[in-house]
């Protein structure tokens, strides 16, 4: 039985009289990773937000979302959000409270979801920051969000998510504001979470390199419609829709000169 089952998910904008997302249907088993790719404006972030009822209240969401055998309603989404389903948002800058320190926000989150108090919470926060390879976690906890760069905040957010040990992690462009080294590190961490802790992952991204590193299944979106859905391997080797072919081909062209050099020198690419 699939862990997440989404049927006919549509998001409608009543003001502009149009569908942002139309008829998305997919199911995902436990300990699998689904990657959603598409160009900007294709509605992939909206799908991610609709899964945990975080879309703007003015939008109408239709369709059923079954999570671990239960239909996800507003009330249940509220209970599960954070503890069982975690969301890593795209712009880390706006995800934090600007007038509280990082440490305070982390401890508050752990208190809310895990019931940890005082020193326990603090130790947990330190452990979370260490897991994402942030330097000087003790000093970092005393800082305010504006003092950190976007990439660092993104890693703080991923650290919090890791320590909450949820069943599902929905990551909306987790690597968008990170540089190459940190991107690899974050992807590696997500990969270990999936392999060792049995986390189910939904990753929204436009970077096909990331997709290839962690995804088992792949969904291609274009203008709010699901074009293709299947195992990542299959979609990569035999893409059906021209839009998918276009996405794959352009990414290949970007890599081509580097890969040619790599082959020439016979240097192996490190895989996750």
């Amino acid at each position: 039985m699939p862990f997440i089952d989404v049927k006919n998910l549509s998001v409608h904008d009543p003001h502009q009289q149009k569908n942002i997302v139309t008829n998305i249907t997919f199911s995902l088993h436990q300990q699998r990773c689904l990657a959603v790719i598409g160009e900007s404006g294709s509605g992939k972030s909206t799908v991610a937000k609709a899964l945990i009822d975080l879309v703007a209240p003015s939008l109408e969401v239709e369709g059923t979302i079954i999570f671990d055998g239960k239909t996800l309603t507003n009330q249940e989404a509220y209970q599960w959000r954070g503890k069982r389903i975690s969301f890593i948002s795209q712009d880390a800058m706006n995800a934090f409270n600007p007038i509280e320190t990082i440490g305070h926000q982390m401890i508050e989150t752990f208190q809310q979801h895990l019931g940890l108090r005082g020193k326990e919470g603090k130790a947990h926060a330190m452990a979370g920051l260490t897991r994402v390879h942030l330097k000087n976690p003790y000093d970092l906890m005393k800082k305010y969000p504006y003092e950190l760069s976007g990439g660092m905040l993104q890693r703080v957010m991923i650290g919090i998510t890791m320590m909450l040990s949820p069943d599902v992690i929905i990551a909306d462009e987790p690597t968008a504001s990170l540089d190459a080294f940190n991107r690899r590190e974050v992807i590696r961490q997500l990969h270990t979470l999936k392999e060792e802790n049995g986390v189910t992952l939904i990753v929204i991204t436009h970077d096909l390199g990331v997709v290839q590193a962690i995804a088992d299944e792949l969904m291609v979106m274009h203008q709010g419609v699901m074009l293709e859905h299947g195992s990542a391997k299959e979609v990569f080797t035999s893409p059906e829709h021209p839009q998918t072919k276009h996405l794959l081909e352009t990414r290949l062209r970007l890599s081509a000169p580097t890969e040619a050099l790599r082959q020439q020198k016979r240097v192996e690419a490190l895989l996750c």
Binding site: S149, A180, I187, D207, Q212, S255, P257, L261, L270
Partner: protein, 256 residues
């Protein structure tokens, strides 16, 4: 044409009036490099490594605290004054680098007008649009009506409208989709061959730099750690560069 930078130093700014921080770290420390005429150099570095600061120094938008920049054998300030419009730049944030109430035509025409080369403006704009592969129907549209890729093309058209000798591309790709990035890279590649410009591509993406550039300069925490020809990419030795190349996430079809 030869850009020579010698021992550039740029101190960090003090944090604030009441900050007790004595001395902040240098943003650029002892950077020296040369870019030859017609060459395309790629400046690669992480965020915060000072690559944009270096570009702003070359453009004269920021003062240096030590060292010297020479272009064509004369000090950069003097060269820039003598050759107005011969050094162009394209920035990352396309939306804030154009005037919101100008049409595409006005945006592209502005630098030509400033240089008082007012003959055949319409024709010039049309040929520029053709050069950046944009349809002539965008001429009377405003910036907000265009997509990111189209607007970045408008910015490139504006940059090449004065026939610059040096073109600086500051993270032109990072806020675009991957498929659009490739289109822009291909456009820059053809422009590079057509116009015979000296180019400096500033990016954090090694793959993009390899795609376009002949030579790569690696910047790390304000200092130039390594430079290599494109073909020598996998023979680098500095730990930072190695780390950067190891953390590439290539996309290959046959492996998986």
């Amino acid at each position: 044409m030869l850009i020579t930078a010698f021992d550039l130093v740029k101190h960090g700014e003090k944090k604030g009036l009441f900050s007790n921080q004595r001395k902040s770290k240098d943003r650029i420390s002892n950077v020296s490099f040369q870019i030859e005429k017609g060459q395309c150099a790629g400046l690669v570095g992480e965020s915060g490594s000072g690559k944009s600061t270096l570009a702003r120094i070359l453009l004269g938008l920021e003062k240096i605290d030590g060292g010297e920049v020479q272009i064509d054998g004369m000090p950069a300030d003097k060269w820039r004054r003598m050759n107005r419009g011969k050094m162009s730049v394209v920035f990352q944030d396309y939306l804030s680098s154009v005037h919101p109430s100008f049409t595409v035509k006005e945006i592209i025409v502005e630098p030509i007008r400033l240089l008082k080369q007012n003959q055949n403006l319409d024709q010039k704009v049309l040929s520029l649009l053709e050069q950046v592969r944009l349809p002539s129907s965008v001429l009377n549209q405003y910036a907000h009506q265009l997509s990111g890729g189209q607007l970045q093309r408008v910015c490139i058209a504006r940059a090449i409208s004065t026939h610059p000798a040096i073109l600086i591309l500051d993270e032109v790709l990072s806020s675009l989709d991957v498929s659009v990035q490739v289109q822009i890279l291909e456009l820059l590649e053809t422009l590079k061959q057509e116009l015979d410009m000296t180019m400096l591509l500033i990016t954090h993406d090694v793959e993009a730099a390899v795609y376009l550039c002949d030579r790569l300069l690696f910047l790390h925490e304000g200092s130039l750690v390594e430079e290599c020809q494109k073909d020598e990419l996998f023979e680098v030795s500095h730990p930072f560069t190695l780390q950067l190349i190891d953390s590439l996430m290539p996309f290959q079809l046959d492996k998986k």
